[in-house]
């Protein structure tokens, strides 16, 4: 198919000898139209390029400021990555990211323990068991849940989850601090359930009907079809949704700030306060540190680590999902 402006120009050329008047009438218009088309295409392309510029901006900002941080703090990269001490206010200050990495990992792990099984089971229910009409009610409700901002979940941790934990553990003689990792795990886990269930459900519903019917034809029960046919067939898609959910938990900020507190430490006790990478960034920016100091610049180094981790998880998830699509779609 030739482009419209080309064909207009061609027809004008053909008409030239016979109808000079018509040519005059149209050529100005078609030239203007061609210019207009090109201008529109360029503007649209520029808007698409804005998204690429955003990524470049993030990478540039984070890496430039991180280099500045290493120059300012005189900390080596190895010290930053391997030191277990994070004392930005001490003299001399130490910046070890390990306590933050531990906090982030612990919260991501704990919330996954809640969200992944529940999300997967509810995805199986929605795609295999639910009657059509019930599904029509449940899916929008889950979407609604996904639309609630994280600050609300953080407040829920303070208002409900921590008091409940206190009521459970304090009679047993275990002290529960106001900010603790367990309540953060619970609210973040609840937060990412809709993500797991809706992404996994999309994948499971896309498993070809023929596979199910073949299994039913061989006398399999619904349970067997769900767990031995549909789930293995959609496994890579389910894994992709898991990875995405973990990445969301790693990047979660406000719920963790309000629930887990700001105490950088490495501990296995879930009832202790922890600090994650995102919380540290909020702590530095809300504090008194002025621009250019090592403490202020450290937020960029932590931000870069956070960005690299989540980007890595997202890319892995994308690759896994692409493999699933290759097999079935």
């Amino acid at each position: 198919m030739t482009t419209p402006e080309r064909s207009a120009a061609d027809s004008a050329a053909v008409m030239k000898p016979d109808h000079p008047a018509t040519e005059d009438l149209w050529s100005g218009h078609s030239r203007f139209l061609a210019f207009w088309e090109l201008a529109i295409a360029v503007i649209l392309a520029f808007c698409a390029v804005v998204t690429v510029l955003t990524t470049l901006g993030i990478v540039l900002v984070l890496s430039i400021q991180t280099v500045e941080f290493f120059m300012e703090s005189k900390a080596g990269i190895l010290e930053f990555l391997l030191s277990t001490e994070l004392k930005p206010d001490a003299t001399p200050p130490t910046f070890g990211i390990l306590p933050l990495a531990w906090g982030t990992f612990a919260i991501a792990f704990g919330s996954s323990c809640i969200a992944l099984p529940i999300g997967l089971l509810s995805a199986i229910y929605l795609s295999e068991y639910a009657p059509r009409r019930l599904r029509g009610v449940l899916k929008p409700a889950l979407e609604l849940l996904a639309g609630i901002p994280s600050i609300v979940y953080g407040y829920l941790a303070l208002l409900l989850v921590t008091p409940v934990l206190k009521a459970i553990f304090e009679p047993l003689g275990i002290r529960v601090p106001q900010f603790n990792a367990l309540s953060a795990c619970i609210v973040v886990g609840v937060m990412i359930i809709p993500l797991v269930s809706s992404l996994s459900e999309d994948v499971l519903s896309a498993v070809p009907r023929g596979l199910r019917e073949a299994a039913y034809g061989l006398g399999a029960t619904k349970f067997e079809v769900s767990t031995r046919v549909v789930l293995p067939a959609g496994l890579s898609g389910v894994v992709a949704s898991f990875i995405l959910a973990i990445s969301r938990a790693v990047g979660e900020t406000m719920a963790v700030v309000l629930a887990a507190g700001m105490l950088p430490q490495i501990t296995l006790n879930p009832l202790e306060s922890l600090e994650t990478m995102t919380t540290y960034i909020v702590q530095v920016i809300s504090g008194e540190a002025s621009y250019g100091t090592a403490k202020y610049l450290s937020l960029f180094a932590v931000g870069l680590s956070l960005f690299v981790i989540t980007l890595g998880l997202n890319i892995i998830s994308g690759l896994v999902l692409a493999r699933y699509r290759e097999v079935y779609q």
Binding site: T3, A48, S122, E128, L138, G147, Y153, S197, I285, F307
Partner: protein, 315 residues
Amino acid sequence: MSETAAPRFRPHRMIRSLLGPIFGAACFLATLTGLIVLVVLLGSILYAALKGKPDNPWYAIVANLRELWGLLRTVALNRQSSDPATAGYRVGIVGSLWLLGLVALLAIPVGVAAGVYLEEYAPPGRLRRIIQTNIANLAGVPSIVYGILGLALFVRAFGVKALALGPCLLAGALTLGLLILPIIVITTQEALRTVPGSLRQAALALGATRWQMVSGHVLPAALPGIMTGTILGLSRAIGETAPLLMVGAAGAIRKLPKGPLERYTALPVEIYNYAKEPDRMFQTITAGGIVILLILLLSMNAAAIMIRNRFQRYQ
């Protein structure tokens, strides 16, 4: 033969017939957790909002609604304060509405244009694939990283004083705009994909140029889908707190912003500040703010779902 086989399979068959319903029930319960959480969340926040008011039993719905209405009116009219009796969200609500307008103005045109370019213009090839992968990855970047970007790029402009916006509404709106750009692009693309190819071919066959075809026929047909995605994106932007903390939406502001270059605060940021207060008296204020935020967000979401259900033309 069958007499010997039947007993051999009986225990196995019993397990099979039991396991199925048990598993189904477990799956159903797992699905219900979502709903239960929603109910518990709304219930406990409403309870916290009504605590400290004249004691009505929970079933006195009319009296409780009147109490709630009174509380919401007070916190919506009062400004930021360290005294729970006069604390409220007026400046934050105005700031959030400013942000909503500015973000819509900045992000919708760019996002829709990018979506149109990728679906209708871009030749399939490496460039398109790169942009597409890039958008998918941007959608997964944590919001606080956008906050860092906004801080360095818009608020400080790498220390170039002439370009730095400072902690003003425009800087916040630009940051949130970049944050929801991937959402708008992706939903625009999805909406454009549902428009049948015959519509495009008909327009081109009548001699329309590409832009005439897109602006006159394809975009109007995809409009409901685009609007749904856009509203969902905007509601995400309104609920975000972390990036606004980064770009300087401080809590302690009592002056209403009058233009995009003034200092501001936003509703979720004020909620965060009240939530941090150790004084129990602030619980009612915080819960009241959350009720206002949720009413705003849920009505936006409901509008989006209604538009989607009403105009499902080509699906």
